[in-house]
Point group: C2
Chain length 423, copies 2
């Protein structure tokens, strides 16, 4: 009995605090949207950022062949170094190297998707109790990871009227002595926006003045439409140290393969060995991405330009089509995207008095039209919904016409809405 040292007489196994703090808002919101689609209309899901679901955007055959070659070689079945094979890191380094932001293999860490890249970058830069700055609207994983780690998040505003540029004053006002990292996501999920060179320079000025290192989420890097240029943030930074996170998921259309990376940009030696060593140590916990994908990387990075070009021209034509169709609908305010695979659409809620908010709007859109878009709430941005533009053109058109029918049915001019309230 003395031996028991207070062990419980009954079983009591509780989930850890950390697991309880790990919260995926999209899951929670979507699960709470308990609605049935309209049985008379086939479902069109414009909700998940997975370009592969409709089968219209296969990866290049050379990408698949590269994997088969890696398998056949028999060389990539064993453990790789926890940060990835040297040859694979060399390939990524030379691919993203530029004279303004030089990269060598030692600056590259391979990870299990861009998600793990972000997790490791946050883990090495931020202590519990510190805070990070994240965009609103923004990708929900930042907050999920941070809160799971006991890190406070502060949202800085993006401005829809300025093509989702950062409200720099607001950003700077949030920085305090506990701010350990600024996350910049460019091109943006959910906005589809692409920052100009000058705007990126302004962001860097804030970071330099306030001495805040940057986590650049550049998973949609190079995924910009023809009339626009993508600048990797690090290529414009003379002093601010940057961890740039990326991966194969989006540009190579293989999100399931879980290959991501961190590029360490630190020309002023501000991160120094401490951050580099810290990252290496953290990779030793779960030992990197699948070695077959690593082995195939060299060939994957050499996919013919035509492949990227085709994806982007498809996305641009869908973006234009969707934007054009939705812009013509009274009550909706789409914001034209310049890259990535998304479009944000403002809902003039005063014209839809039947719906309490964007979540209800989205629910009813499923119920009546079997069109599923994520409500802005998933991105901490009410009164909007997000459209994924990777769907086949006919589905895109059909979805837009159903959204039009839905809006026309529920739209009320402001006077009408007012009367409605007065009753």
């Amino acid at each position: 009995l003395g031996k028991m040292k207070g062990r419980k007489a009954r079983w009591a196994v509780r989930a850890s605090d950390m697991s309880k703090k790990t919260f995926n808002p999209i899951r929670a919101i979507v699960d709470s949207m308990k609605v049935q689609p309209n049985a008379n209309k086939t479902m069109i899901s414009l909700s998940i950022g997975d370009p592969t679901v409709f089968g219209n955007l296969p990866t290049d055959s050379e990408v698949t062949q590269a994997m088969k070659d890696a398998l056949d070689s028999g060389k990539y079945n064993g453990y790789a170094p926890s940060i990835g094979y040297l040859s694979s890191r060399e390939e990524i380094a030379s691919y993203y190297h530029c004279s303004e932001a030089p990269l060598e293999a030692k600056d590259v860490i391979l990870t299990s998707g861009c998600s793990q890249a972000i997790e490791l970058a946050l883990s090495v830069l931020v202590n519990p109790g510190q805070n990070i700055l994240i965009p609103r609207p923004g990708f929900s994983l930042y907050k999920t990871l941070a809160e799971s780690m006991g890190i406070e998040v502060k949202f800085y505003n993006l401005l829809p009227e300025k093509s989702w540029e950062i409200d720099l004053k607001h950003l700077e006002s949030l920085i305090d002595e506990k701010t350990a990292c600024l996350i910049v996501n460019n091109p943006s999920n959910p906005c589809g926006s692409v920052f100009s060179k000058s705007h990126l320079q302004e962001i860097l000025s804030v970071a330099a003045r306030q001495r805040v290192p940057i986590l650049a989420d550049e998973i949609y890097g190079d995924m910009v439409f023809s009339d626009c240029k993508y600048e990797p943030l690090a290529s414009l930074s003379t002093n601010v140290p940057i961890l740039s996170c990326g991966g194969l998921a989006k540009r190579w259309l293989v999100p399931g393969w879980r290959l991501g990376w961190i590029l360490i940009h630190d020309r002023r030696d501000i991160f120094g060995n401490e951050i580099r060593d810290g990252l290496v140590k953290l990779t030793q916990k779960i030992l990197g991405p699948c070695t077959i994908v690593q082995g195939a990387l060299k060939s994957i990075m050499r996919t013919p330009q035509e492949f990227y070009h085709n994806t982007l021209s498809f996305l641009k034509s869908n973006a234009d089509l969707c934007y054009g169709a939705l812009a013509a609908i009274p009550g909706l305010q789409p914001v034209l995207p310049a890259g990535a695979m998304y479009l944000m659409v403002g809902i003039e809620m005063e014209h839809f008095p039947e719906f309490e908010n964007d979540v209800e709007f989205s629910e009813r859109l499923i119920e009546e039209q079997s069109v599923f878009c994520l409500p802005g709430k998933c991105f901490e941005y009410p009164n909007f919904f997000r459209v994924v533009i990777t769907v086949p053109k006919v589905m895109m058109l059909e979805a837009c016409s159903r959204i039009q029918e839905f809006c026309e049915k529920h739209y009320q001019s402001v006077e009408g809405a007012q009367e409605e309230c007065d009753k």
Copy 2:
């Protein structure tokens, strides 16, 4: 200036406490062993638990073909559910299902290697400040993960003279009100031991009496030599809830592919939904293993029995050969393994007075004989070294004869050693 709110006038980016606490003892010990191998002898590395390095243990051709089929199908490029495809989880469930420990797809979570399985299991079961019980000697990742998470580790002893069974009295004496989990590794790295049914039942009795849930690291499950039977811990448990961690790494000879799993065994509903939900939430942070490997799982699990059989008979013959050779060397005390891919060898240090400890013994073995074995210190177990038995037979023999030469050169009878000291 008021705006600066105390931001530093100079850059000061420090690595997080967590990254500093993340410590891989094997790396640290090996890196500190700054020795050059003997240039006249080719290096024989018996140090890493990677069965693929020598090319003599390729995976089965059907395993590779399964991957190619998954690639060709084009069905496995997108995101899978964060816990893995339902069909893949069904396959694992039916593979490991038995009437004493039934499993369904909902009881299976796919992870990025067994390492991530262990990380998730610890993350959901243990809060910082609590403690876990881990074997000594044991696989170093347990301590690495725990300390990185602020979890205390308590080592329970394994008894070499009882084929590395657990010292159950010692184990039970360590349990206190803060003990959140008992890790049982069977078959064992580094010992190559396989627990008997009755010993496993005794371990379960302790856990049941003390109400401590078990993390069973069964990555070497089914890898036992012909004269011995492997019992999954859960098949013997009537009440103790168990998270069994496993993966493709060892038995299918593809550690680089990073596919692991957690099997949730909880017939008394002690974990309940809380632990299950916690695990699901934790998987949403980095989104599971490579989908191509997941897609290939069904075929991989159906690899012809002959393949496993061949691996095991090779390992057994190497184990016997190595054990026989080393047992004949004065000053060494190998312990015969019954499974996995390792053998632990006791060093009678009193007969090797030149060497301060097992690390120096191992260093000098590299320097003189170009044979690299990990010192016991890597497993928290001094005066031993570990031999990996996956090398080709000729290398195994050559290594043993070099070890013999080395020991013969340095061995001193106890009287001689005594004299040496008296001088």
